[in-house]
């Protein structure tokens, strides 16, 4: 194990971005990392709000028009190597908002997140369960730890 991998595995910082979801997934994710019940910190996964400190970007919501630019900026501000986890039905495929008119897609929604930034892991669910978020982050970690 290289030194970089070793040090990265000791502290994985997760950043959360809301892009216009309904608040359900967001609270479940904050809950999973912060709250004493699920407590991701025992697996040395920490929540941060600073993109320059983050390793994993968790995106929720269907990415509305207005939120596209901030999301791109935040993604670019995160140093390499980085992971993106799309959490929730909205982030994975646009949810109820994107495909609401059948073939005609909603103009308000730019998502799903894949359209804007590359996604490494998708966590389904409306709203996501805290356990699923943890397993999603953990499943994508080899990519992060295997990088130079």
């Amino acid at each position: 194990m290289s030194l970089k991998t070793h040090s990265r595995s000791k502290a994985i910082h997760v950043m959360l971005v809301y892009t216009g979801g309904c608040n359900g997934c967001d609270i479940e994710i904050v809950n999973s990392i912060l709250s004493p019940k699920f407590d991701a910190e025992q697996y040395s996964v920490f929540l941060t709000w600073n993109p320059r400190e983050a390793d994993v970007l968790v995106v929720t919501g269907p990415v509305t028009n207005q939120n596209r630019q901030p999301l791109e900026d935040i993604y670019n501000a995160i140093p390499n190597p980085k992971l993106v986890v799309a959490a929730g039905a909205c982030a994975c495929m646009g949810g109820v908002y994107k495909n609401c008119y059948g073939d005609i897609q909603s103009e308000e929604i730019e998502g799903p997140v894949e359209n804007i930034i590359p996604v490494d892991a998708k966590v389904p669910g409306c709203a996501v369960r805290p356990q699923d978020v943890l397993s999603g982050v953990v499943a994508s970690l080899p990519k992060l730890l295997g990088a130079d």
Partner: protein
């Protein structure tokens, strides 16, 4: 020779802006603080980044589908949106709801109020900088979330109400009622200990007392709703006017000052009232069927329904035409409280400004749904009911 004078330093008014994505503000919204000497002179909260056009999506959908869609308006108070949307249809169609269904709805709604208030307490304590209290409240909240998971099968969006009653899967048998009672006992005990610890912490109280206070007249003028209004001493709760709550005995909690301390204590005390209502509901829950499907779909005029959501008065209205929704309007309580957030931060220190916004329990993701109709040529604002004739 000119006399030497020290130049007086000019105080420059600074603008501090946050958002739309900012660490301190969990949800995306934009706020501008106009600061002079570290004191906030004016504040401006702008929303609109979350607009997904849910009222437009509801337009023309079958009523049952539209009801399910209203759940996606808010991830915190999802059940109350479904309830109110269903209530609109029930008022319009004249559907009689079985008594057992009413009680089940109240049980879910009050559990939701509990978890919403706990979320406010946890978030408030986190913004205060008191992580320990925040963790403690999150831990208490988990008990309630598990109960909701047990009733509805999902932790956040449980889709309980349908036209004519509640979904049969949300029916509660004896063992589930016992589980809820046990959960309530633990929660009440934990909450009492928390409240006791909270009110005896002098350091914490010095941090929250008198911060971001809103006078009563101002709160009424700004049309503040819900617990934020009650925290300024106004005794107004829509639950007293709803026929669903007729058989229940509970008090309306008020607090005197309208500052952060009043708001935090308000939620704690109101949680005890919710537990009281839940105990009564579990004790008196009648037997019988949970859903009455013998209603018929007819066309109706615009129907309005007001309901007491955890954050205040929630308003839904739509008309039904051929079993489809026309001209839906949703007005969430946070929309009304934005004025209070701006007002509360004026005069406070810049470090307390975020706290002043949080004290009104904002939920901006559910507020972004206003639709305005303008005439294309004259740019005059038109009545929204024009949507009913033009589209589809």
């Amino acid at each position: 020779m000119e006399e030497k004078k020290a130049k007086t330093q000019e105080i420059i008014e600074t603008e501090i802006q946050m958002g739309t994505v900012h660490p301190a503000a969990l949800e995306p919204y934009r706020v501008r603080f106009f600061v002079e000497d570290e004191i906030v002179k004016d504040a401006e909260v702008t929303i609109g980044v979350n607009h997904r056009g849910i009222e437009r999506i509801m337009e023309g959908l079958p009523v049952e589908k539209a009801n399910m869609l209203t759940e996606k308006i808010c991830g915190i108070c999802s059940n109350i949106h479904v309830w109110n949307s269903v209530r609109v249809a029930e008022i319009g169609l004249g559907v009689e709801i079985p008594d057992r269904a009413l009680y089940l709805r109240i049980i879910v709604a009050e559990l939701e109020r509990l978890h919403s208030h706990f979320l406010f307490l946890a978030h408030g304590c986190e913004v205060l900088g008191h992580e320990t209290f925040s963790m403690r409240v999150f831990y208490m909240r988990e008990t309630i979330m598990e109960l909701l998971h047990m009733i509805g099968g999902n932790r956040v969006q449980y889709g309980c109400s349908i036209i004519g009653g509640v979904r049969p899967r949300c029916d509660l048998d004896e063992s589930k009622l016992i589980k809820i009672t046990e959960g309530l006992d633990t929660t009440e005990k934990n909450l009492k200990e928390f409240a006791d610890r909270f009110t005896r912490d002098t350091m914490l109280l010095s941090r929250v007392t008198g911060v971001g206070s809103i006078p009563q007249e101002q709160a009424i003028k700004l049309a503040v709703t819900g617990p934020s209004l009650r925290a300024t001493g106004v005794k107004k709760d829509l639950r007293t006017e709803m026929f669903e709550y007729e058989n229940f005995d509970f008090d309306i909690i008020t607090q005197p000052d309208g500052d952060v301390k009043s708001n935090l204590l308000m939620r704690v005390l109101e949680s005890f009232e919710s537990i009281k209502i839940l105990r009564q509901a579990i004790k008196n829950i009648p037997e019988g069927k949970v859903v009455d499907r013998s209603w018929e779909m007819v066309d109706t005029d615009i129907i309005k329904s007001y309901i007491e959501a955890p954050r205040g008065t929630l308003y839904h209205s739509y008309a039904i035409e051929d079993g489809r929704v026309r001209g839906s309007i949703v007005r969430t309580p946070s929309m009304a409280n934005i004025g209070a957030m701006q007002y509360a931060s004026i005069g406070s220190h810049i470090t307390d400004a975020q706290l002043c916004i949080v004290q009104c329990d904002p939920c901006f993701t559910c507020s972004d749904r206003a639709v305005e109709v303008y005439d294309f040529d004259s740019h005059e604002k038109l009545d929204k009911s024009i949507l009913q004739s033009n589209i589809l």
